[in-house]
């Protein structure tokens, strides 16, 4: 699952897919013990841009940034984002992200807005997300009636994730990123 989607600002769908595929291809073949930076190819906007990613078990979190961002800072930001996910989903796992893409987006929107870093303080982010979720609940929510999915997901017996998000070996494949 990649979060480049958010950062590649609204290209035409096919272009967007191609960028994601290309990025996934670039990132996934890299060893764990190489650096977390990739120089920008022409696809992501030229030499001023870099791909900065972190790899957690089967998940890659990829940010595409220009030279106005600090490389190590973005690595920290990814960590903040993942920790926030962990808090909001209570021990996040891959399936949480797959089935609740909308929620992931809402959280991401509290961290990054329109391609710019909005908030880096994890507590602040979680507070805001929580308040909004509570509002949703009070309105009855979208998923109030059919709670099947939620319960189904919750009932799945998934390994616990340790605090530092070294997600264990989950034998579920990343949803197909190249469906065609």
């Amino acid at each position: 699952v990649q979060n480049t989607v958010q950062h590649v600002l609204l290209q035409a769908e096919d272009m967007q897919q191609q960028i994601i595929r290309e990025t996934f291809h670039l990132v996934s073949k890299r060893d764990d013990n190489v650096c977390n930076f990739l120089e920008g190819g022409s696809l992501i906007g030229g030499s001023d841009y870099k791909l900065i990613y972190r790899h957690y078990a089967t998940l890659y979190f990829v940010f595409c940034v220009d030279s106005s961002e600090s490389e190590l800072g973005i690595l920290d930001l990814i960590q903040v984002f993942v920790e926030t996910l962990d808090k909001c989903f209570e021990n996040v796992c891959e399936l949480d992200l797959i089935f609740h893409m909308d929620k992931v987006h809402y959280i991401l929107q509290e961290v990054v807005m329109g391609g710019m870093v909005l908030e880096t303080n994890m507590n602040e982010i979680t507070t805001q997300v929580d308040v909004q979720n509570r509002m949703e609940k009070s309105e009855g929510g979208l998923s109030a009636a059919p709670a099947r999915a939620v319960s189904a997901v919750k009932n799945m017996n998934l390994p616990e994730i340790p605090r530092n998000i070294n997600i264990g070996d989950i034998n579920i494949k990343v949803p197909s990123l190249s469906p065609f």
Partner: protein, 1129 residues
């Protein structure tokens, strides 16, 4: 109604929600597309319902499908519907969908303006927040214009949550609607001091982004940021601020000094690696920029780290096992490389080691660094290493990168580091074996460049190219689409043009006429055909020398047999050339049959040696008297020119192929440039789909160099192009050559040492040779320099004979002895230019005029000189501008043969220079005065000290720590007859008035037996003209400037000037640093610019000058000076 609602919610029970959709897709791995299309049908049904909850659910699912790459733009209107729901849950879904799917061309966006405005002013802060977030993704110029005011109000919202979002989104608004920047900026600035750290950080973020685009406008915020930097504890904010200062310091050097302390504090106190890295990084970029070398040093001292040590620290980073630090270390190193190349060069081993790293990001960084570390000594070694990498490299991108780097490294600064061009040619030839590279062009242009400019190498190059042509099938094979066959273009051309070097021209001719050539791209075939003709001429010449005439006839027959293939070519260029040459050869054959000797005439077709010409050379050719380049030869037709131009442009693209090589090369570059531009455009164009060059499958299937399919087909041919020397050989050879040279040198040195054992005791180090010791084996014709300056002199030589008043100040300290007395002080006689060309031109042009004038002048001078007693024969000529300069030095800065017979002469040739060529207004207060000191006496001069009495307005820049009255030591000594130049920087505050500065020069005159201390007074004359810089100006910009109304007007009459108008113009240009903007008959507009950015515009007519300038005093003075120039002629 109630029933309907109940029914709706029951329906919803059976609708799929997002989770069901995801699960469904996962369960339908095989027929995913089909499953999704049924889902989309369902969604369409759901969207048709009135129930907003159902619609929201559908939109939510659509958002997910959009993420998977499905086009959902058809649902844009439904998204707007969901956005306008009053419930937060649905609103959020709607905005999320909008932020994902909307883009500028989505037409329903304009329907959203009012909805967004309503949401922005909603009492619920989260409604506002959601709207802001969504808007940040799809804001259009229209939305930005309509909503800018609402967002600006939100910047002062009571809730920090909204404030920070509003501040951040302002950046997007500025981008789309730049007019909003000015009114919003004060409020944005306020937010820098917002009590909430989040808002503060957002404001810093926005201003940093803005400053990245145009740092100059944000200099005024520096103090504010400075305060923030010392007070803030938020690492994000600190990093941004440090980055911002990185952009600001080059504009305001004083900032650098102030930054040292807080940065150092941060470096010592922070525990965050990211912040530490940014600090060190910025310290280096900021402080090491040229204006501040001393500062960087002081900083290093402060941190107790000399530059080398800093690099040492980076080395530790690079050697770290953490690959991220390694990468960042290399990144920082490449920044230091720009300022301290020496200290980085010593870490070559480390960089080369990084080339072997398994991580491509790190390898690319290391490659970048390599560029700056080559020297004559290590070039071959480094390139050899790179060649190894080329062979090993997997993936065409990295390999191409290596290839361009190799060529970059070798060709940098005019092949400065190449000592053996045979080696370089063979490297290029080896590179042609690269499979699938896109850079055939690059290699080809290098081959051409080297072959043309390094005459000594031509023989070798031709032999190599002939082999290449012979083995052309290896290159072309199945790689038509790749660029590598471009090298055949170069090969064919080189073989044709320098065919006299060919050992076996006949064989090459045959190779060029092979039927397979017809499969090459058209432009290459065209070159083949043309150069086959050149070769044919050479072959004929050699064959006609023999008694047997049949051989020559056979050659003609060969041409006649093979050329028809090209005549049939679909490419116009090839066809045309081939049929032309075919007819020619047929005619030749006829002549041959009549036993007529034709070889001479045929080769005359291609006679003429190729001389590389500098691109700027044309400018230097003087325009002959009476020729007006601007006048029409034929009156232009009334219709617009552009239409005529167009067809030309179409042909011009094909023309380069048969044009002369120099032009061809330019075109090559031009083409590359265009290609680059196009690539850039394509890369930025989201609708241009590029083939992905490196998908994994391609990797696995792509054969390595060893498995080129051609080889399998043509088993008799080994892969390594036969007869081509390996570049490695050269490394050895070169080593031997250098050793030999060294040995010889040592021998000589020994001899020398024997001869003068009591010499200066300079030790010759027998250790590693120094850079200078390596002499190149071949010489490159360097033609990038301009032609010698003499052409200027020929145009203006007449000026010299007219005299001007010189500010000469002669001092006397003791009476002259009779023997020492100078008989004549004749400037004019001393003007005799040095170079023979000059001399010839000067004397032949106006010898009579000159001599008569000279006489008069001499007389005057004599009189004057006699009045003054000159002690040691010291002169000081102080010159304000070129008009004065001419008297002393024949009009050229640098040529400086003043007064003969006087013992010692100092000539001051002030050259005003802007400190920063970019026209940085802040630095427009600096004037550099170049002074040439020439020792005309027989004694040794030393300990020269230059001092000027500062005025309020102008100050000599002295090194830090010295008092305002201390002199500057001239950094050299002068043996008899030697001259040298020193530069002094003055800070001038106001440039609107001319100024004179008094100064003294003290020095010690050392004779064999005694030494005396001497002092010399002088005046330095800064005219207003010397503050002007010749600046070209286009006529439309000029017109705009005049229209602007900011300029004050003034005019001056030129009395009694009777010289041709173009002389008049030339004179104003030359003496007063103007450039002609436009000239119509005897009326011309001229432009110049002062170092502080004042515009000076002139309208010159034969008798008067109307002038405009934004500074009336400056204008008045400049006009006075112009008038003076003309009153003296």
């Amino acid at each position: 109604m109630a029933l309907k609602i109940v029914k709706g919610s029951i329906d919803r029970m059976f609708d799929k929600n997002l989770q069901d959709l995801v699960r469904g897709i996962r369960n339908h791995k095989e027929d995913e597309a089909k499953y999704i299309s049924t889902c989309i049908d369902e969604i369409k049904q759901e969207l048709k319902q009135d129930n907003i909850a159902v619609k929201a659910n559908a939109v939510c699912k659509l958002t997910y499908l959009q993420m998977l790459g499905y086009d959902v733009s058809w649902a844009a209107f439904n998204i707007v519907e969901v956005m306008s729901s009053s419930k937060f849950t649905y609103k959020r879904i709607g905005y999320l969908a909008a932020s994902q799917c909307f883009h500028e061309s989505t037409d329903v966006i304009m329907l959203t303006t009012n909805q967004i405005r309503k949401d922005l002013s909603s009492p619920n802060q989260y409604d506002t927040g959601v709207a802001l977030t969504g808007l940040s993704c799809f804001v259009t110029p229209d939305l930005a214009r309509d909503l800018a005011n609402d967002i600006m109000t939100l910047m002062s919202h009571t809730k920090p949550y909204i404030r920070k979002k509003a501040v951040l989104i302002m950046y997007k608004v500025f981008l789309k609607y730049p007019e909003s920047l000015r009114p919003a900026f004060p409020r944005l600035k306020e937010k820098l001091e917002d009590p909430d750290p989040g808002v503060q950080s957002a404001a810093v973020n926005v201003i940093c982004e803005l400053a990245r685009r145009n740092p100059k406008n944000y200099l005024s915020l520096a103090p504010l940021f400075f305060k923030l930097m010392t007070s803030s504890t938020n690492n994000w904010v600190l990093i941004k601020i440090i980055k911002l200062f990185g952009a600001l310091t080059p504009l305001e050097p004083r900032l650098g000094k102030k930054l040292i302390e807080p940065l150092t504090n941060l470096i010592h106190s922070t525990s965050a690696m990211s912040l530490l890295y940014e600090c060190v990084n910025t310290v280096y970029i900021d402080v090491n920029t040229p204006p501040l070398p001393s500062l960087s040093l002081s900083l290093c001292l402060y941190l107790s780290l000399p530059p080398q040590l800093c690099v040492q620290k980076l080395r530790i980073l690079i050697e770290d096992s953490d690959q991220n630090l390694k990468y960042l270390g290399l990144l920082a190193m490449s920044k230091i490389l720009k300022t301290h190349p020496k200290s980085v060069q010593s870490h070559k081993d480390l960089i080369l080691q990084c080339l072997d790293d398994k991580d491509e990001s790190i390898r690319l960084r290391a490659l970048d660094l390599l560029y700056g570390m080559v020297s004559k000594k290590n070039l071959m070694e480094i390139v050899k290493k790179l060649m190894l990498h080329v062979d090993k490299a997997e993936g065409t991108t990295y390999r191409d990168e290596l290839l361009t780097k190799i060529i970059d490294i070798c060709s940098q600064s005019n092949y400065q580091y190449i000592t053996n061009f045979e080696w370089y040619i063979s490297i290029l030839v080896e590179l042609t074996r690269l499979e699938g590279t896109r850079h055939g062009h690059l290699i080809a242009s290098q081959m051409l460049d080297v072959a043309i400019r390094v005459k000594a190498i031509r023989g070798f190059a031709v032999a190599q190219m002939a082999t290449l042509l012979d083995n052309a099938h290896l290159l072309t094979g199945n790689m038509q689409r790749m660029g590598i066959c471009e090298v055949l273009y170069a090969a064919a051309w080189i073989c044709g043009e320098f065919s006299e070097h060919l050992e076996n021209p006949m064989q090459t001719l045959e190779a060029m006429l092979r039927p397979k050539v017809a499969t090459l791209p058209g432009h290459i075939q065209a070159v083949y055909v043309q150069n086959a003709a050149k070769l044919f001429a050479t072959v004929l010449k050699s064959q006609e020398g023999n008694t047997d005439s049949t051989a020559a006839q056979e050659t003609s027959q060969l041409m006649i047999d093979r050329l028809p293939l090209f005549v049939q070519s679909a490419n116009l260029e090839v066809q045309e050339r081939a049929s032309c040459i075919l007819q020619l050869v047929k005619y030749i054959q006829k002549l041959q049959q009549k036993d007529v000797e034709v070889a001479e005439e045929v080769s005359a077709l291609f006679a003429g040696e190729l001389n590389p010409v500098a691109p700027k050379a044309q400018k230097k050719v003087p325009v002959p008297e009476g020729l007006d380049l601007d006048s029409w030869i034929n009156e232009p037709p009334s219709e617009s020119e552009s239409e005529d131009e167009q067809p030309k442009a179409i042909f011009a693209k094909e023309e380069p192929k048969h044009s002369r090589p120099r032009r061809e090369e330019v075109d090559e570059k031009e083409l590359a440039k265009r290609r680059e531009a196009r690539k850039q455009e394509q890369a930025n164009n989201p609708f241009y789909i590029k083939a992905s060059p490196s998908s994994q499958k391609v990797y696995q299937e792509a054969p390595g160099v060893e498995h080129i399919p051609v080889v399998q087909i043509d088993l008799s041919v080994p892969l390594k192009v036969p007869g081509l020397p390996m570049s490695d050989q050269y490394v050895k050879l070169e080593e031997e050559r250098r050793q030999k040279e060294r040995a010889e040198k040592k021998k000589k040195e020994k001899k020398k040492r024997k001869e003068k054992r009591s010499g200066r005791g300079k030790k010759h180090d027998s250790g590693p040779e120094s850079e200078e010791d390596i002499t190149p084996a071949h010489q490159v014709d360097i033609v990038t320099e301009e032609m010698p300056e003499w052409s200027i002199i020929t145009s203006y030589i007449f000026i010299k004979t007219k005299s001007y008043c010189v500010t000469v100040h002669v001092c006397s300290s003791r009476p002259l002895a009779d023997s020492e007395k100078l008989p004549v002080r004749s400037h004019r006689a001393a003007e005799a230019p040095k170079s023979p060309t000059e001399d010839g031109d000067a004397t032949s042009q106006e010898p009579k005029k000159k001599s008569s004038k000279e006489k008069r002048e001499k007389k005057k001078d004599k009189d004057r000189d006699r009045k003054v007693r000159i002690s040691t024969g010291l002169f000081l000529c102080l010159l304000g501008n070129h008009s004065h300069l001419i008297l002393v030095s024949s009009g050229l800065p640098g040529i400086n043969k003043c007064i003969q017979k006087s013992k010692l002469v100092f000539c001051f040739l002030p050259l005003t220079k802007v400190y920063d060529i970019q026209g940085n207004l802040q630095d427009g207060s600096q004037v550099v005065v170049s002074v040439i000191f020439e020792n005309k006496c027989d004694s040794f001069l030393k300990s020269m000290e230059f001092n000027v009495l500062d005025s309020l307005n102008s100050k000599l820049q002295r090194p830090e720590g010295s008092g305002p009255h201390d002199g500057l030591t001239v950094p050299f000594q002068l043996p008899p007859g030697v001259s040298n130049e020193a530069r002094f920087v003055f800070t001038v505050q106001s440039i609107i008035m001319p100024q004179k500065l008094k100064g003294t020069l003290t020095f010690i005159v050392k004779n064999e037996d005694s030494s005396t201390h001497e002092k010399l007074d002088f005046k330095l004359h800064f005219t207003c003209t010397s503050y002007l810089i010749t600046t070209p100006c286009y006529s439309d910009a000029f017109a705009k400037l005049l229209e602007s109304g900011d300029l004050k007007c003034s005019s001056v009459r030129l009395e009694g000037v009777n010289m041709p108008f173009h002389h008049l113009l030339a004179r104003i240009c030359f003496h007063h640093h103007f450039s002609v903007v436009e000239r119509i008959d005897s009326c011309a507009s001229m432009y110049s610019r002062s170092i502080q950015g004042h515009h000076v515009c002139l309208l010159v007519k034969t008798v008067s000058i109307d002038a405009k300038c934004d500074e009336p005093t400056l204008l008045g003075n400049v006009l006075d000076e112009i008038k003076q120039t003309f009153s003296q002629c």
